[in-house]
């Protein structure tokens, strides 16, 4: 059964026609052309499809698009500033936290949400926060270093604003 809905993604209202069984991930990727979120398992087990959903990270492969109507959704495309990179993104590059890059969008989304709620996380808190994001390439160590570096840089930015 198809249905017309409005999805608020990255601050923009999108009117889309969807099937009742379509996931938010599928609609983001196939209908809105937002392909940063990836499908790694389709079962809520890998974190590759993470988006910010109502302020917290969520697996968009587990959410039906119909349920997402009226919810604020933020994807990696949405947190990337217009003409440069977000400090988290830059820290991932600088610290060598990227290899094949398939887990990277989900990792950055999880980091974005972690640092919003906890600007100065300990190593254990970081490990816990990203333990739902599988990465087969990096062994996580450089990702953790990038998250710490991003936290430092974000604090500096905030400090300057004060």
């Amino acid at each position: 059964m198809s249905k017309d809905i409005t999805l608020n993604v990255n601050g923009i209202d999108h009117h889309v026609n969807i099937q009742g069984n379509e996931t938010l991930l599928k609609v983001l990727r196939d209908k809105l052309g937002l392909t940063a979120a990836k499908e790694g398992c389709g079962a809520g087990e890998c974190g590759a499809c993470a988006v910010i959903y109502n302020g917290s990270p969520a697996s968009s492969c587990l959410i039906l698009a119909v349920e997402a109507e009226g919810v604020e959704i933020l994807t990696l495309e949405g947190i990337t500033p217009k003409d440069h990179l977000h400090p988290i993104q830059q820290a991932f590059i600088d610290k060598g936290a990227v290899q094949c890059g398939f887990c990277t969008p989900g990792m950055i989304i999880t980091t974005y949400s972690l640092l919003k709620s906890n600007p100065d996380p300990s190593e254990d808190e970081i490990k816990k926060a990203i333990s739902g994001n599988l990465c087969r390439c990096t062994g996580y160590v450089q990702i953790i270093e990038a998250i710490r570096e991003a936290a430092r840089r974000l604090k500096r930015v905030k400090g300057r604003r004060k």
């Binding site: 087990e45 816990k128 996580y140």
Partner: protein, 774 residues
């Protein structure tokens, strides 16, 4: 160490921007107008005859455009042994084998249509393990084995399930054992495991009505895929075009040919349409290749002074339902069978056997994780029994300059420094000092280490080509077809090009994602060989470009070309830098004041061919290793003896990788490999029940998460330059995964006195072994 301008530097990954911004496109991100979506029907049985396939109900469904199966597509494929049909033909040989496929307007329609295909099966006896396969009265998984085509460096055995037997003979094994003071014999096993790239496999294919085939694929080896596709489907190379987007992890699982023929077979039935086939995670578990299971028996003879003087090793690999690429895993494990040891008398027999299990194939380590599990456990057993320090026992016996390795190659000081790797790990682990005593008496701590070696496993004709193209402003585009599968080759290769060009890396752009119509040839991105092999091709390409520039400059400056040199900005007369031409004035052709122009756009082409030989059929002696990388890995662990719970306190790895091109990406390879090794050591196992895979999901097949990291993890670079590598670099991609399992098993023994000989080292297994010991 030499003064490099671009090497040994943490140049940020050149693909970093694409990957952190979501700009990087992977196979599933591609959509084309009018695209059709494919689904595959898979066998529910591990071994059965196909009595009939009825597709009429599926074909009648609205929105179904094409249906295919072995009746329409009977092609076979394989890199080394052509034994694998695109669709199960006559019988199914593993649960999950493709039987038919559908292309439809939507994925949902294709999925519904698959369910309407009716297949009648008649069960066949199950070959469920190595023992079944080798039984005298074994059911043959491939009765037609001898009719298949294969390279003459493999030795299948008629009338058996053995698809390859690699013998290795060195010295006089009988004499060796006769002279031995002590002899040890043990058996070790490990199960099949999955690569688990985070990106599921996928391919998009279009077969035009003029019989031109275009394939996009998540592929490690675009040119080899092109070759194998054209062989399978009877086309010419010029009519097949493979385009390779970013690959979300390979680890061997996207090497050779994989699932692409399924999409191509459908494309042939729906000419002119793009067919998109993306595997689900379950299909990645069921329908791609895996690391083969193995059983090894090692018998070692020791002289009174602790020197190993004889070793007999028999390794049997469970290659699964089709051997294909896995044939060469058997060979590679076979010629390295004793690991990095200097042993005079060796008898090795390495077999690959067919079973009704998942298809074994290339996997990071390529037989070496398997053989070192056996060898490095055995060495520890021996050292402990001899009451020798296990590190010292290895120092005494490993390969050193002057040693002769298993296949008769002489080790020189350029081969690498194994002892330095052992020393570095021992130092980090505070070897020789007991672990700090845990507060609780039921917690036991221990340390272990294990060495390793690996050379790229490739045929003697595995070649590479690269190009460097100057732009008008004297910036440079580097072209090669080593695949960026996460290892960082785009960045490392660009650094190598920049170094040879004497330019800063920021002046270069790497066109690193291959298209076989436009990109230079590359055999495969496997075997940790890309930085090493393509790096050499790039150096040759730069030299070729420089020769071309000098040729023109010699006319303009009226000196011999040999009197000229080039830095990143100009070509100049040696000893007279004032007499020079700025590069932008010459690289598109040099124009004289009157307007006439000589020369033309400068493009350099370079190739690289390793110097290898085939190995002797009876003795396995010869030269199959283009270069070796040596390493040592160590672990400190603790075990809760009440529960068997294993905690990893420290992992350390030291590798002689020669000149380090990019410390950050090299570290990424090492740490990532060690953690994948940790997964294979303590977590990962594909489990079978009645011949069917029981855990094809992340719920039941766990890989390491950030929560599984050891308290400490460390990488150490040993840098003995390789005399054949680009600027002295050698391979590092696979090695860090190899010896983590034996290092941990040896540490468990040190802590508890319990020796586990079957991977993985789960808490349950540790607990039951502790109970047995009591």
């Amino acid at each position: 160490m030499k003064n490099f301008i671009n090497l040994g530097r943490d140049v940020n990954r050149l693909d970093g921007y694409d990957k952190v911004s979501g700009n990087a496109k992977y196979i599933a991100d591609y959509e084309f107008p009018g695209m059709l979506y494919a689904k595959v029907l898979r066998s529910p049985h591990p071994h059965a005859e196909i009595i009939s396939i009825n597709t009429s109900a599926a074909e009648k469904m609205e929105g179904v455009i094409a249906v295919t199966h072995s009746g329409k597509c009977s092609h076979k494929m394989g890199l080394y042994l052509v034994d694998r049909p695109v669709f199960a033909t006559g019988k199914v040989r593993f649960k999950g084998e493709p039987v038919a496929a559908v292309a439809a307007l939507t994925e949902d329609i294709a999925a519904a249509a698959i369910k309407k295909i009716k297949v009648k099966y008649k069960m066949l006896p199950l070959v469920d393990n190595i023992e079944d396969a080798l039984d005298k009265n074994a059911t043959l998984v491939h009765p037609d084995l001898m009719k298949y085509s294969y390279l003459p460096i493999y030795y299948p055995k008629k009338g058996t399930n053995i698809f390859n037997h690699f013998p290795l003979r060195k010295g006089d094994i009988k004499k060796g054992f006769k002279q031995s003071y002590k002899i040890y014999e043990n058996e070790f096993t490990l199960p099949q495991i999955q690569h688990v790239p985070m990106e599921p496999h996928g391919a998009i294919a279009k077969w035009d009505r003029n019989d031109k085939l275009t394939v996009y694929s998540s592929v490690q080896s675009p040119f080899t895929l092109r070759n194998l596709l054209r062989l399978a489907f009877g086309l010419s190379h010029k009519d097949v075009r493979v385009i390779a987007p970013y690959v979300g992890g390979g680890f061997g699982g996207k090497a050779g040919i994989n699932m692409e023929p399924l999409a191509v077979a459908l494309a042939k039935e729906a000419k002119g349409k793009w067919i998109k086939l993306i595997f689900s995670r379950e299909e990645v578990f069921l329908g791609t290749t895996v690391r083969q299971a193995m059983r090894a028996r090692v018998k070692t003879g020791i002289a009174k002074n602790g020197r190993i003087i004889a070793e007999e090793i028999e390794m049997i690999f469970d290659g699964g339902a089709y051997a294909e690429y896995g044939t060469n895993v058997v060979r590679a494990a076979g010629y390295t069978c004793i690991g990095p040891y200097d042993i005079k008398n060796v008898k090795g027999d390495t077999y690959g056997v067919y079973t009704n299990h998942l298809v074994g194939g290339a996997f990071r380590g390529f037989g070496h994780g398997e053989l070192h599990w056996a060898v490095e456990s055995q060495m520890d057993i021996i050292a402990n029994d001899l009451k020798m320090d296990p590190a010292e026992f290895r120092r005494l016996n490993v390969l050193k300059p002057g040693s002769i390795n298993s296949m008769g190659e002489k080790i020189t000081k350029h081969t690498g420094d194994m002892v330095a790797c052992i020393d570095a790990v021992a130092k980090d682990l505070k070897w020789g000092k007991p672990s700090k005593k845990p507060a609780k008496p039921y917690i036991k701590r221990g340390k272990g280490l294990a060495v390793l070696e690996k050379a790229p496993a490739m045929p003697a004709n595995a070649t590479s080509c690269a190009r460097v193209k100057f732009n008008e402003d004297a910036t440079v585009i580097v072209q090669f077809s080593g695949m960026e599968i996460g290892q960082g080759c785009i960045t490392a290769l660009t650094q190598i090009a920049a170094e040879r060009l004497k330019m800063d890396v920021s002046k270069l752009h790497a066109a690193g994602l291959p298209d076989t119509d436009f990109s230079p040839y590359e055999w495969q991105t496997v075997a940790s060989r890309i930085t090493w092999a393509v790096g050499n091709a790039i150096i040759n390409a730069v030299d070729d470009a420089h020769e071309k520039i000098k040729k023109v400059a010699s006319k303009v400056l009226k000196v011999k070309a040999s009197q000229l040199d080039i830095d990143g900005e100009k070509v100049f007369v040696i000893g007279n830098k004032g007499k020079s031409i700025a590069l932008p004035l010459i690289i598109m052709g040099y124009q004289y004041p009157d307007g006439h122009t000589i020369g033309g756009p400068v493009e350099g082409v370079g190739t690289f061919t390793p110097h290898l030989t085939n190995l002797d059929a009876k003795t396995g002696q010869g030269h199959a290793a283009a270069e070796w990388t040596f390493g040592c890995e160590g672990a400190e662990i603790e075990v809760d003896t009440r529960t068997g719970e294993l905690k990893i306190l420290n992992l350390v790895g030291a590798f002689d990788l020669g000149t380090v091109i990019n410390p950050s990406t090299a570290r990424g390879q090492i740490i990532g490999g060690m953690i994948q090794g940790l997964g294979s050591a303590v977590l990962e196992e594909l489990k079978y029940k009645d011949g069917k895979i029981a855990n094809p999901s992340f719920v039941d097949y766990k890989i390491p998460t950030a929560a599984d990291l050891p308290d400490k993890i460390k990488h150490i670079f040993i840098q003995t330059p390789d005399d054949g590598g680009p600027f002295g670099a050698r391979a590092i991609g696979e090695h860090p995964m190899i010896s983590i399992p034996p290092a941990i098993a040896n540490a468990i023994y040190d802590a508890t006195g319990v020796r586990i000989k079957a991977l993985p080292l789960t808490d349950e297994k540790i607990l039951s072994s502790l109970k047995e010991k009591k």
